[in-house]
Amino acid sequence: MNSPDVIVIGAGVVGAACALALCDAGLKVLVLERSTISSGTTSAGEGNILVSDKTPGPDLTLGLWSRQAWFEVSDRVGGGFELEAKGGLVISRSAEGIAKLRQFAVQQRIGGVEAVEVDHTGVHELEPHLEPDASFGIYYLQDAQCHPMLAAARMLQAVRVAGGEIREAEEVIGLSRAGSELSVRTKGGLFTAPIIVNATGTWAGEIARLAGSDLPIAPRRGFILVTSPVPNLVRHKVYDADYLANVASGEAEIQSSAVVESTQSGTILIGSSRERIGFNTSLDVQILRRLARQAISLFPLLARVDVLRAYSGFRPYMPDHLPVIGEDPLVPGLFHAAGHEGSGISLAPATGELIRAAVTGESSFMDPTPFSPARFMSTS
């Protein structure tokens, strides 16, 4: 492609959403992907599109808008990524947990979340196979799910159809100023554009450093168990309220809590674990055992279901648990769209929209300042 208006680095779900939003704004978009599309964290996700885990404030504002936007994206790209507004059920089984969950839901409702308290009868109507003693939950009508890789692939296909270009096997090894533009060097070529979007997720700090800046993104490993296909067992996304504490935690060692949901293919996905252990991909059997125990404690029938496979992924962790979306103060023209931790899929379309607004100098549905990369830089 000659003279792209924007180069997006990274063809995961966030890069794809940014590329599509920029394309639809009339810009010529070139996407550079170091491997094949969605080979990063996007291929290790569960497909969560949640409002239930969003903290009131910028996180929730971003999350609500994004959730709605996913349905517009589906219309835009012709569906085909298993988007389902299945709803989420958050369970708590301790008095303290119930109180905290109630309080959290009150705050979320103020922010626009539809959250319904459910009692013992209610939780078992929603999930007949839930363990018999569960007696309190909050049902989040807006929680949804999709197939993250198909979502990214469909968005990227729409980018191609609209005249954009996606180049795989282009690993970025240099990023520098070239007059009024920025120049990106890959192993195989040199590309220049006035605007670069860094959508490289867990590796976004590396790209920032290549450009002479920095981002405090670190990998936060998670494991997922996949069961063999089962008959109807779980209808919604179901998780233990402890999940919320884990997301918000900064602890390096293992945080895990029960997250269980079914997929359209009939398998059940079981999470979730969080550890700051670098990019270690080796299987940790102890963590798998914890995940299994937690899942069975929610759905006892799972005990006789076979685990088919397990995989790990690296969430892009940010110390303040908010993504970085906006122009780098040290490198004008370089925009970051990364650091979404476990909410990359949820927040992708909203990120794309904020990037579109930032790049074109227009306003958007919210003030993006809370996500600014400048918040980590001391004023010099």
Binding site: T36, I37, Q157, S265
Partner: protein, 466 residues
């Protein structure tokens, strides 16, 4: 239950290679833990049932009864890790019992399984692998059906056909892709090795006497039947496996025993992190070993089909060499003894490998099989992904590699975890993209951290010792 006794030698696989290694180790006074997924020893090559005379023929089979062998049949390694010289194996004994084993001394002899090529109708009940028909006959004394066609390529088709004929089955045809001229060219000059050529001659005699029709330079390119196999289409094929126009004809059968050589079983080696390589003669991924059968992981050795397809004779030799190397490396024997034990073995292995390689040359699979496919041909049996689904993902979603084809179409994500379709998917994707299959794709397809499904309840219980 867990074993922290890292001083026992652990062998995974009780086929010829594993049994041969066990026999050597027992003879030098070592204690062996022999783990096998089958209910009886012998793997695929020596599969036998309750009243078989095979254990008399091969005394390796009787090693399981030795007091120095702890034999665990019906046991799968569901996952394994390797760290600082110690292999940790997590065993699945049954749905309620697990066991963890740690060792510094490990021999992998995990063998191979039939290589499958997809074709229209291959998912019809009655279509089976040659190994599957053989397993039913030899292991369960059961004929898979009434009228058979044996097809594919490879020396294995002969014993399968002969087994069926001898059991009184009606074999309507043997369909072999290679041609006699190729056979003679490649193998005619080889001297007898372990009586292998003699075996062929015996098989050929039985087949000729039975008057079963042999089709050379041919393949079964389609299977037909509503809910159950009724007949197959046989066609003449060229060396690229493309169908010769006008040569198709139909043969009735209710069982098709089809085999296209073997695929080494690398799951355990991969879980541990042993290096693999491509065997250029058949393009399969094998465990990379040196002349001592040592893998890239100190203390881990591999022997038999998983290091390269070569038959039972070669597996016996490699198993013995691996055991000797392990014993010497861990000072169970001194170097004088190890030299004595090794006398003649290196040369024997070389000769057997040479013969095995010649066979691989003769019985090649060319990728013209992709031209037999129709858009609705199932490619991934587990997830019912069709050829059309794969092609659409390439043309409509710009899929450019096997990994993404898998992640976007589910091909290879089902219960068998790509064991049956993985290589075929990679080859179809490569073919559609106008290139060769990459090493990365073949390697990616072999990684299965969870090797065998394990019940969640068992995974959850764990073990107080762990």
């Amino acid at each position: 239950m867990s074993d922290e006794n890292t001083e026992q030698v652990v062998i995974v696989g009780a086929g010829p290679a594993g049994l041969s290694a066990a026999r050597l180790l027992v003879s030098i006074g070592a204690r062996v833990l022999l783990i096998d997924s089958g209910e009886r020893p012998g793997g695929q090559y020596w599969r036998h049932g309750a009243n078989s005379s095979l254990p008399e023929k091969h005394d390796e089979l009787r090693i399981i009864a030795d007091p120095n062998v702890e034999y665990l049949p019906g046991t799968n390694v569901w996952t394994a890790t390797y760290l600082n010289g110690i292999s940790t194996l997590h065993l699945l004994i049954d749905r309620n019992r697990e066991r963890m084993v740690k060792t510094r001394m490990l021999i992998l002899a995990t063998g191979a399984y039939d290589r499958s090529l997809p074709f229209p109708g291959w998912d019809t009940p009655g279509v089976m692998t040659a190994g599957g028909v053989q397993a039913l006959l030899k292991g369960q004394s059961t004929l898979a059906g009434k009228e058979f066609v044996v097809a594919g390529t490879g020396p294995f088709l002969l014993p399968v056909a002969v087994g069926l004929i001898t059991a009184g089955a009606k074999v309507n045809a043997i369909v072999e892709a290679s041609t006699p001229t190729v056979w003679l060219t490649k193998l005619g000059g080889l001297t007898r090795t372990d009586g292998k050529i003699g075996d062929f001659a015996t098989f050929q005699k039985i087949i000729m006497k039975s008057k079963v029709k042999m089709h050379h330079g041919s393949a079964v390119v389609a299977a037909h039947g509503a809910d159950s196999l009724e007949r197959v289409t046989v066609a003449k094929i060229d060396r690229q496996f493309k169908i010769k126009r006008g040569s198709q004809k139909q043969i009735a059968c209710d069982v098709l025993a089809v085999g296209w050589g073997f695929t080494p079983d690398l799951s355990l080696a991969e879980a541990l992190g042993a290096r693999n390589r491509i065997e250029p003669r058949d393009g399969s991924l094998v465990v990379d070993v040196d002349i001592h059968q040592a893998t890239s992981l100190p203390g881990v050795y591999a022997a038999g089909e998983s290091t390269g397809i070569g038959g039972s004779g070669l597996a016996l030799t490699e198993g013995r060499i691996a055991a000797i190397a392990l014993a010497r490396d861990f000072s169970l024997i001194d170097s004088v003894t190890s030299k004595e034990l090794m006398v003649g073995l290196g040369e024997k292995r070389r000769k057997q490998q040479s013969f095995a390689n010649a066979l691989l040359d003769v019985y090649r699979v060319s990728n013209g099989w992709t031209t037999w496919l129709k858009p609705d041909t199932i490619l991934c049996r587990c997830e019912e992904t069709t050829v059309g689904d794969i092609r659409e993902s390439i043309s409509g979603l710009a899929v450019s590699d096997a990994r993404n084809a898998k992640l976007l179409t589910r091909a290879g994500m089902g219960l068998c975890q790509g064991r049956v379709c993985g290589r075929a998917v990679s080859e179809l994707v490569a073919d559609e993209c106008g290139r060769e299959v990459s090493l990365k794709e073949l390697r990616g397809g072999a990684k299965r951290p969870v090797i065998t499904p394990i019940p969640l309840g068992l995974l959850a219980e764990g073990n107080a010792d762990l």
